[in-house]
Symmetry: C2
Subunit: 187 residues, 2 copies
């Protein structure tokens, strides 16, 4: 089956396509000017983004919003992760975490999915871990400073794409999306 | 004359009322669930907020969005100032500014104004200054760490409300709003 992914981020398209390909799902980028609202959680951001374009989508479509929630920073940068990354980067987060002992964090992904004429559905994936003491590896966004619990000591940025896709928040949300699609197609 | 101010922030209502009273303008709070979008600048945030409620406003109405733009942080926290304040506070900003020599910053206020049946208008006020080396005084938001150029050495937080209102970004935007209103009433 084919599904549209409303995003302007080519990194996400690549990552999402690689994961959904395993399930025989072909991802078509649907390049939208997303309207993201300011909210404390990801779900309303994803919901609102899709609401704004729901009359334009050419078929089953989803949008995804992701964020890094750092406990010692009260959840910052959360839904504002891409803005915070652009402005203060990994270095800025590490500066905020200097002398902070609780380095636990959670990377979350929220997906809003809509099949034209049906109700919107939201699924969420979470990967718990901690903030590294320094930037390690490459990858995009906060990948080089996030160490998922499942990985031992590697940051997302030190993993191969397929290693990251085994444990990532995005992969967990996408699996739930696939479950929704199964329900859809078996009806 | 009477004007509606769409906001949920009582601090803003108080500050705005004190300034507009001088011009014989009475401010009525119009308590709205504002939808704020994610954007790099304030103007689209204010515009969008007002667009979302324009069919509900009971008369001439404005919304205001303000933010602290720090040059060394590429404009962070900017339109996300209230979120950043809630999450990392003044202490977080000072941590990001450790060992940073360029402490210049700008506090901006954008006002979107709409008279039912007319086109929306946007005005902006800016106050340039620098980020203090420590938290000084009281006040709300980032007031205790922002030293406006016009003030000598005092932070917004060390000024009396009327001292702050002499130099503040919000007062500058409100003066421009008053000019718009004059144009309106002289027509």
């Amino acid at each position: 089956m084919k599904i549209f992914f409303g995003t302007g981020n080519p990194n996400k398209v690549q990552e999402v396509s690689a994961i959904l390909k395993r399930y025989g799902i072909i991802v078509k980028q649907f390049p939208i000017e997303r309207v993201e609202i300011q909210a404390d959680e990801l779900e309303p951001v994803a919901r609102f983004s899709l609401e704004m374009v729901k009359n334009e989508i050419p078929g089953p479509c989803f949008v995804e919003d992701a964020g890094l929630f750092i406990n010692a920073l009260n959840g910052f940068p959360g839904p504002y992760s891409s803005y915070a990354f652009k402005k203060i980067g990994n270095r800025g987060i590490l500066n905020l975490m200097k002398e902070v002992t609780d380095r636990t964090a959670c990377f979350k992904s929220a997906i809003a999915f809509l099949k034209p004429g049906e109700n919107m559905q939201i699924v969420v994936g979470e990967t718990f871990g901690k903030i590294a003491l320094e930037i390690r590896g490459s990858g995009w966004g906060f990948d080089p400073i996030f160490v998922p619990e499942e990985s031992g000591q590697k940051t997302y940025g030190e993993m191969t794409p397929s290693e990251k896709n085994e444990v990532s928040h995005r992969q967990k949300a996408l699996k739930k999306l696939v479950n929704l699609l199964d329900v859809e197609t078996n009806r």
